[in-house]
Structures are given as structure tokens and as C-alpha cells.
């Protein structure tokens, strides 16, 4: 069940340039079903900004009732968020949507987790759960530049990890796809910019491939039709899925990206 809750902030740290890791205490943790789900955050009690902001759950801890998000300080909402301190409370709605299906890989198989920039965070919980299940996990994490890189060590603990930067200032120069050619895996889970997801869909249509999409949202729960995408197979021309409540994770080929 989706809950609306005022969650006390436990910690907030800048882990890379403009990238913040935020942990809150929240009863709604008990409702999380899958890695890749997200929450909808009100960054101010006031009207400015008005709308909630969708942020992925990057990891959670049922026992201690807390979960972590990693976000980039961008516009008004995330800038306000970045100023908040432990002890303050955040108005959070969640957990929302459907995440990555871990049942799609079995313990002997290898899963490739591909993240681009601020698409990396939800893969962390996914990685943890896959490893716990005995799946062999490889991570390919793409960033713009050195200062934007985060969580490399954390992912390394779970398995092989390749970091790429567009400008070559860290790790391998290039895009995530430049690394993937040499790797063997049965299933891909990916989250990142649309261009990255499109490239994956084009090149790896033969694999099991799950993509987490982004779309501007109103309600975040499926009521406003802000975040729809078309079905790939759409004879009627009017079929759709909602990123917020049907997604954000879809099987490649299911919807048009």
C-alpha cells in the first residue's frame, strides 16, 4: 500500500559533485516490493515548489525502517532538498510503481546492471538483492565526468564493476555500450537517460532486458495521465502504460521509448 508519511532525515551527504545521498526513517519501507520503485517527495511545506519530485529508492533496510535515495541537485526542488538537515522531516509518498523483476534471473545466471548518471541509484538495491539470491552481477556505470562518479566502491563489493566517463577523466572513456560488447550475461537491467535506453534496446533485443523510464509526473500514482507512454504494439493507437504506476520499469519492447 502506498503511504504518505512525514519521514525524519537520518543523514544527508554530498557523495559527488551535486550528488546527495539522503537516508530517512520511514514506516513505508515495509511496503517496498521491488528494487527500482520510487517515492514522491514534497521538497517544501510551502507552495514553492508546488509539485512532488520522483526519486528512486536506492537501498532500504526493512529492519531499521529506513531507506536511502541518491539524487542530483538540479532545479528548485532538489536544491531545497539538498539544504535539509538530519532531524528535519520530509513529506514522502510511496513506495510507488513497479521495479525490476529479480525473478527473471536465476542463481546460476549473470545479470548486467547498466546505469547512466542519476539512473545509477536504483541499481544498487537491485544489485544487493541479486547477489543475495546468488546471481552473478556485473555493473556498468556511465557518468559524464570524474566529479560526477559515485558509489563505485559500493558496487564493487557486489561484483565486477566498470565505470565509464564521457570525457575520459575517470575509468574507461566512452559510453556504457562501449564496454558491454566484451561481457557475457543473460539479462540486463538498466536505468539512465533515454538515449542510453534506446541504444540498449536496439543492440540487445535478443536478451532479457528491463528498462527504467523517466517521465514528468503530476500525481505519481496513476490518476492524472501525465506520464503515459505508448505500447510498442498498438493497433488501436490509444493503448498506453503509465510510467508512475505501471512502470517505471518495463520489459524492453513493451512500450515505446
Amino acid at each position: 500500500m502506498i503511504q504518505k508519511e512525514f519521514c525524519p532525515i537520518i543523514s544527508q551527504t554530498e557523495i559527488a559533485e551535486d550528488i546527495f545521498e539522503l537516508t530517512v526513517k520511514a514506516c513505508l519501507v515495509s511496503q517496498i516490493k521491488q528494487p527500482g520503485q520510487f517515492v514522491h517527495i514534497k521538497a517544501a511545506n510551502a507552495l514553492d515548489p508546488l509539485l512532488r519530485r520522483p526519486i528512486s529508492i536506492s537501498s532500504f533496510d526493512q529492519e531499521n525502517e529506513q531507506f536511502t535515495m541518491i539524487y542530483r541537485k538540479e532545479g528548485r526542488g532538489t536544491s531545497l532538498l539538498a539544504k535539509m538537515e538530519p532531524g528535519m522531516e520530509l513529506d514522502i509518498l510511496g513506495p510507488l510503481g513497479n521495479g525490476f523483476p529479480i525473478e527473471e534471473v536465476s542463481s546460476e545466471e549473470t545479470a548486467l546492471l547498466v546505469g547512466g548518471g542519476i539512473g545509477v541509484p536504483p541499481l544498487f538495491e537491485l544489485s544487493k538483492q541479486l547477489v543475495a539470491k546468488g546471481v552473478n552481477v556485473i555493473h556498468v556505470l556511465g557518468f559524464q565526468t570524474e566529479s560526477a562518479v559515485f558509489y563505485e566502491q559500493e558496487f564493487l563489493k557486489n561484483g565486477e564493476t566498470y565505470v565509464t566517463t564521457v570525457d575520459g577523466t575517470y575509468g574507461i572513456q566512452g559510453f556504457v555500450t562501449d564496454v558491454m560488447g566484451n561481457l557475457r550475461f543473460e539479462c540486463i537491467y538498466a536505468c539512465g537517460p533515454t538515449s542510453m535506453l534506446k541504444a540498449l534496446e536496439q543492440h540487445y533485443s535478443d536478451k532479457k532486458l528491463f528498462l527504467s523510464l523517466e517521465e514528468r509526473m503530476g500525481c505519481g500514482i496513476g490518476a492524472c495521465f501525465a506520464c503515459v507512454c505508448r505500447l510498442a504494439d498498438d493497433p488501436s493507437g490509444v493503448s498506453y502504460k503509465k510510467v508512475c504506476s505501471d512502470g517505471p520499469v518495463f520489459r524492453a519492447g513493451e512500450v515505446l521509448i
Binding site: 496513476g222 492524472c224 506520464c227 498506453y240
Partner: protein, 313 residues
Amino acid sequence: MNRLHVELPGLKLKNPIMPASGCFGFGREYSQFYDLSKLGAIMIKATTVEPRFGNPTPRVAETDAGMLNAIGLQNPGLKKVISEELPWLSQYDVPIIANVAGSLEEDYVSVAREISKAGNVHALELNISCPNVKTGGIAFGTIPEVAKQLTRKVKEVSRVPVYVKLSPNVTNIVEMAKAVEDGGADGLTMINTLVGMRLDLKTGKPILANITGGLSGPAIKPVAIRMIYEVSQAVSIPIIGMGGVQSAEDVIEYFYAGASAVAVGTANFVDPLVCPTIIEELPVLLKKLGFEHISECRGRSWNQHGQLAYHRA
């Protein structure tokens, strides 16, 4: 003491609070949060004859104290609304106001005829004011004579009272209101969104794929209040007010202006529990302000006693 019971044409409302059309889908999502029977009514998403996908995304953009939307009347179409959504809603003890949209007069008439037969549809809301569809629409919402004709045609076929939803994007809102009253409207709902736009700082291009969108939220409340103030004094049919309502205080302000009930749109996205919260807080606020019944607030900005017989229980 029941301070909130209100009667309007076709509608016996437990309370005068209802979610606004397009901001509540067909109720399923919000039913996860509370019992929909708590609501005064539900204004469901616009229904058209055929299913519509609507506009390309992005469909929403935030603005200061508001938001733009250009959903483009996405809906599953008349048949599905009648066969799936309305029956699902009938499990709740709450009157439904069906928002009727279309491009041509015939479309409106077809939807109105069919949807008004559904048992739990107690009123229609004629959406002649959607700023996000390119064909038709605009003339219906901005030319008094055209709006009047459409109202008349819909009244002829509807089995339930017809409320007409007015667009604020006009020079003279009173003229529009009088025209649809002349056309036989049983009530008005106002306001729909103001046409607005936002551009992306990096690309220079519109944030919305549809270029323009409808501005809703607290930003537009002063415009809505002014229009309801003007219209409520010029017509003798009741008004369901909307535009930026977020709190019990806002509801009272709408009643003072001349509304007889109030719809809540954008605020549902900010707080999914906003409607039941307002319904809970209203009686307390009324008591504090010294009112025995909410209808006493109505029209107080222009009339000493703020009360008209027809909408008091």
C-alpha cells in the same frame, strides 16, 4: 449538527467537496488512500465518444504556485467508461458528475445521451473549455451563442442536470455564463485552466510537447474568485467553484465569492488526502467563524446573508 450538507440540481451532497475532473482519474487510485464515499461527489475524467490517447509527453510543467498540463483529454472512451469505470464507482455511495468532452456538437450530444443513463451519474459537466485540444472546443468555450446552442442540444438529450464548465480565457465571463444559462444549463462549474506556457532554459523550446497548457493551482485562485464573484451575481443557477483550492479556508473563500460547492484539482497531486482533510476541517472552521451551515457563507462578499434557498438542505 451537519454543517456541510448541500443540495444542487441533481445532487444531494453530504458535503460540498469533490475532486475536479482530470485530477482524480475515475477514482481507483485515490481509493487506495480513503473511502471515496466520504466525498461530496466525484467529477470524473473527461469522456469522449472514442478512446483518446491525448497529447505527446511531457504533458505537465511546474510553474510558480501552479502547474501547466496538456493531457489532451486522454480517456478510455464512452463505452469503457460506461462498462467499466462507472460500475466500479457504483460500489461507493457518492454521486458522479460526468465530464463530457468532444470536438463536434454531435460528440457532446452522444456522450451526454449515453452517459447520463448510468445510474450513478447524477449530473453532467459539459467541458467546453479544455485548452488542450486543437479542434473544436475553443469556439464552444469562447463564443456565447455557440456555447448556448451546445448547452441546449445537450440538455435535450441528458437525463440528468447539466452543468457547463466555463473557460477563464475570455474577455467577458458574465456574458458566457448568461448564454449557457439561457441555453438551459442547470449549473456552472468554473474555472477551467488559464492558457499558459513555459520554456526550457537550456533549449529555448516549450517544456510541454503540446507547446501550451492549462494553468491550474493556487496561482489562478484570485482569477477564479473574481469570476465567480461576478458570475454568481449575474445568474441564478448555482456554481461549483474550482481553481487552486487547497484548504478549508479556500473553500470558505469560494463560498463567500458565490460558489455553492467546490472542486479540488491540482491539490490532489500534492496531497492525495487533501479532500478528506478539507472535509474534516471544514466544520471546525465554520464553527470558529460562527456559521451553523456552510450555505450561510455563500455570496457573503456581495450579499449580507449569503444564503439562497435552493441549495440549502
